[in-house]
């Protein structure tokens, strides 16, 4: 084991430039994935806040009897997807409008007749807040005879959903491109080391070293570079995160960073990249030594 790590570390001294190059490529590939990942994580966080408020508003025809509404409300509350139903009377609607829409306060104050309809507000249970389920429940609400119109923030919920998926996808695609480059560069580094040490390896073979013993240092070298690359990428991501947060003038102060599991995941991915690159190279070139 001591010999193994000594041999692996030796390669950093033998080819420092190439080693640095492999570590940085891994770091950049993970940095790219990480940055987009951060955006995705924050979008998800933002969406979660919004999703909690996802509600369907069903406007009620003027003059619908209160008992009808009360019975319907109970029916709707019994939907498996629905967590909570509340009735907003016409007066309540007007009061809210006055409080929230300050720009139109004067207009509302001078009204002789309340133009706002009563409504039922339906909140969804967690796990049922996606656009599809919300749409289905909205459709069922429309079937009630006294419902005039149903509104829900379908479009922007969908848009945010798309945005989040797109961000994740773009990050993965660009990151994978970098990752491929990293694997190639690590492969080349390992290949050079193998050629450089062909004599040593052939002697190792001659005196009865097992294949895994010969491969060991190369694989460890790759894994080590992956580990360093992963750590470096986290540092870069954190720097980027701090930069964004502190230069946003406070609007992004709620920005979050990766949790511990996600950080470990990034580092593990780096180690796998390094290991993959060296495995490919060792498999292809060691046989010919």
């Amino acid at each position: 084991m001591k010999l193994l790590s000594r041999e692996a570390l030796l390669s950093f001294r033998r080819a420092p430039l190439l080693s640095v190059l492999s570590v940085t490529t891994i770091a950049f590939s993970l940095f790219t994935i990480g940055l987009f990942g951060l955006v995705a994580v924050n979008l998800r966080e933002a969406l979660r806040g919004i999703e909690e408020r996802v509600e369907i508003v069903a406007y009620i025809f003027r003059g619908t009897p209160a008992e009808t509404i009360a019975i319907a409300t109970q029916d709707i509350a019994a939907f498996p997807e629905v967590s909570d139903v509340s009735f907003v009377s016409e007066e309540e609607a007007l009061r809210r409008a006055r409080a929230e829409l300050i720009e139109f306060r004067d207009a509302y104050r001078d009204l002789q007749v309340n133009p706002l309809p009563a409504s039922i507000e339906v909140r969804m249970k967690e796990g049922h807040r996606d656009a599809g389920t919300v749409g289905r429940v909205a459709q069922r609400l429309r079937n009630f005879g006294f419902i005039d119109d149903v509104r829900f923030g379908r479009e922007w919920v969908q848009k945010l959903d798309h945005l989040r998926n797109l961000t994740g996808l773009v990050g993965i695609v660009i990151g994978l491109a970098f990752a491929a480059v990293a694997v190639v560069i690590i492969g080349v580094t390992i290949r050079l080391t193998i050629l450089q040490r062909a004599r040593e390896i052939s002697i190792m073979r001659l005196v009865g070293a097992t294949n895994w013993f010969i491969r060991g240092p190369f694989l460890l070298e790759g894994a080590l570079k992956g580990l360093l690359g992963g750590l470096l990428s986290l540092v870069l991501c954190y720097a980027g995160y701090i930069l964004f947060r502190d230069n946003s003038g406070g609007t992004l102060s709620g920005l979050i960073f990766f949790g511990p599991e996600q950080m470990v995941l990034i580092i593990v991915f780096g180690v796998l990249l390094g290991l993959g690159g060296s495995l490919v190279s060792v498999g292809r070139h060691l046989r010919h030594v």
Binding site: L3, R199, E200, V207, G208, A209, F213
Partner: protein, 229 residues
């Protein structure tokens, strides 16, 4: 210890390196393998340490069947052999003792035993005083002794020497040859490929002669036949 049974070795380009070669070597023997360059000596050596596999027939070495040997068993076979070459094959950036210790390290020997074992074989080959010298600081004969020490350090049952004196002057040749005889006297089988016929004639050791891939003379077999006549 070694058994070649109707061994053939062909190469993809159609050349036949060995044709129907049969011989066997018993415990404690010293065998010369002679013949011109390209006669098949080196091919026999490579088959013996499983660098190559036979195309036909059977090669058995120290209980292993080289024809059917699994890749994982090749290192195990080699640990029971010592191999020495004309060009020494030492690592230039390591001292004599490091070169010898290397053979133990890569086979996973216990670290605390390595130094003593290395010193023992270096003493055996007469180089205990030069253990800290690098290959470039040593003569050809000394370098070959280091290579022999490395071959011996795993206590092999068989020592294979492929033209071990090919790069050495006469005096060094005598010294290395004497060392190989001493090793054989200790009970190790020695197979030495050489085209130095003077060396062969000096001794009464068994001689196998190759020509164009065929075994044309085996002193053991032919003398027994002559006696029978």
């Amino acid at each position: 210890m070694i058994r070649f049974s109707s061994v053939y070795k062909g190469y993809p380009n159609g050349a036949m390196a060995l044709k129907d070669v049969t011989f066997h070597v018993s415990k404690g023997e010293f065998v010369f393998l002679t013949g011109h360059s390209g006669a098949g000596k080196s091919t026999i050596m490579k088959l013996l340490f499983a660098e190559q596999r036979p195309s036909g027939g059977e090669v058995r070495v120290s209980g292993y069947n080289v024809s059917t040997l699994k890749a994982d068993d090749v290192p195990r076979l080699r640990r029971r052999l010592g191999v020495v070459f004309q060009d020494f094959r030492l690592l230039e950036d390591r001292t004599a003792e490091e070169n010898v210790a290397f053979a133990l390290e890569v086979t996973g020997a216990r670290t605390d035993t390595i130094a003593a074992r290395v010193m023992r074989v270096l003493t055996q080959v007469g180089l205990s005083a030069k253990s800290r010298a690098y290959p470039r600081e040593m003569s050809g004969g000394e370098q070959q002794r280091v290579a022999i020490a490395r071959a011996l350090v795993n206590d092999p049952a068989i020592l294979l020497a492929d033209e071990p004196t090919g790069n050495l002057d006469e005096r060094a040749t005598r010294g290395v040859f004497q060392l190989l005889r001493d090793i054989n006297n200790g009970g190790t089988v020695v197979v030495m490929a050489t085209h130095d016929l003077d060396l062969v004639r000096q001794t009464v050791y068994r001689t196998i002669e190759m020509r164009d891939g065929s075994l044309v003379y085996d002193s053991d077999v032919d003398e027994a036949a002559a006696e029978a006549r």
